[in-house]
Symmetry: C2
Subunit: 227 residues, 2 copies
Amino acid sequence: MAKPAGKADRTPRGRLSREEVLSTAITLADKGGIESLTMRRLGDELGVEAMSLYNHVANKEDLLNAMVDAVFSEIDLPSHSEGWKTSMRKRSISFRAALSRHPWATGLTDSGTNPGPATLRHHDRVIGTFRNAGFSVAMAAHAFSALDSYIYGFAMQEKSLPFTTEEETAAMAQIMLAQLPANEYPYLAELTADHVLKPGYNYGDEFPLGLDLILDGLERWLTSAAR
Amino acid sequence: MAKPAGKADRTPRGRLSREEVLSTAITLADKGGIESLTMRRLGDELGVEAMSLYNHVANKEDLLNAMVDAVFSEIDLPSHSEGWKTSMRKRSISFRAALSRHPWATGLTDSGTNPGPATLRHHDRVIGTFRNAGFSVAMAAHAFSALDSYIYGFAMQEKSLPFTTEEETAAMAQIMLAQLPANEYPYLAELTADHVLKPGYNYGDEFPLGLDLILDGLERWLTSAAR
DNA sequence: CATCATAAGCTTACGACGTAAGGAGATCTC
DNA sequence: GAGATCTCCTTACGTCGTAAGCTTATGATG
């Protein structure tokens, strides 16, 4: 009686905004993986037809790029004031945490082609932190490459694991161990049995070990001056 | 006259084999990127309808998993006899080269869920090399995680660069530098101008620097004994 | 308040995609 | 030489991103 026409069950809302589209897309991808994010489902979630999304987004690639930039905006920037090593450690941990919250972002490599403002700012601040600490331009580039390769790669390995919680890990490792021909892959079997299946194991805990290894290495580069 | 019926322009060949399907799929993905690999195109390339591929492959995921395993089979295994550091250095370089030849493999993370035999053998030999060198099980796990995260991440960054050759790099960097608001991202601008645009720059050259940083760090872990 | 351009939504449609179902012909086994 | 099996084909379905064009709500201008 009140509503004259149109879709019945559409949640009444003001107009859509790009931000709303973006954040819903991120939620969807977080929940069901990037392959579950389709324009139609995203539209559904927003109470709108798929084609209406194109009023706020040029195409799907534009959407994905913006999503990646949103992830970068969640990362704590290194502060120039705090000592390069601690502040770089913090931002690295924050970076990994962001990729862990949004695993789909790790594989969205096309965003390298045209990075958004948050991505650029992030990179600029990281390089700036190295430069201010006394790294030469070349050394800063090497440090940036080494450190971020590690972070990205770690996130990718983490994402590719078929388990998340400790219980899942244990269950999965049990199964894999049982399937694994132990005499053909003895070291893999040993590692699974004696390390992965130890109570309290969590792959994520490996992160700071490699991180500190690299940071210590970078510090050595720095103090050994010339390069 | 000779041929009684059927498709005219089909290259006469014996029956298809899984190996043939696999290697053609890899060639296709190498040439046009993973998104250009569709069942229909792969069929075309082999002179066969898309559906015929399902005689040799369970589904596309099976195909992709097998492709990743094929990439792993290209990597030089570390030899137990040679000293862990040099042999691990060799296999790391070989690993990166393989991912560089087949960039699509870097993103195919689902293969972590059920790795093929070449992948398992590779992992087993890597872990075995650490163990034989005196790493404890836990240290071997840490070393494996740190090193392979770096390699994977490096490959991913390399893949995401919008250029390959030195000329492309220079051209692209010029453009990006021109577009970049230099006062907003001063360190990025500096790095581009003074490092990337230097003649002879090639991002791939960064790889051994980070690699040696990690290997040296692992060696220090090893010699500092307990952990 | 009336008009009307613009923006934001909807409908329909197209050409890809992966693959289910089932049929036809070749090849192998006994 | 008969039957089973394997390989390939045709057809079809549901889903995807998105082009084209329509309708309606908004908000500025007279």
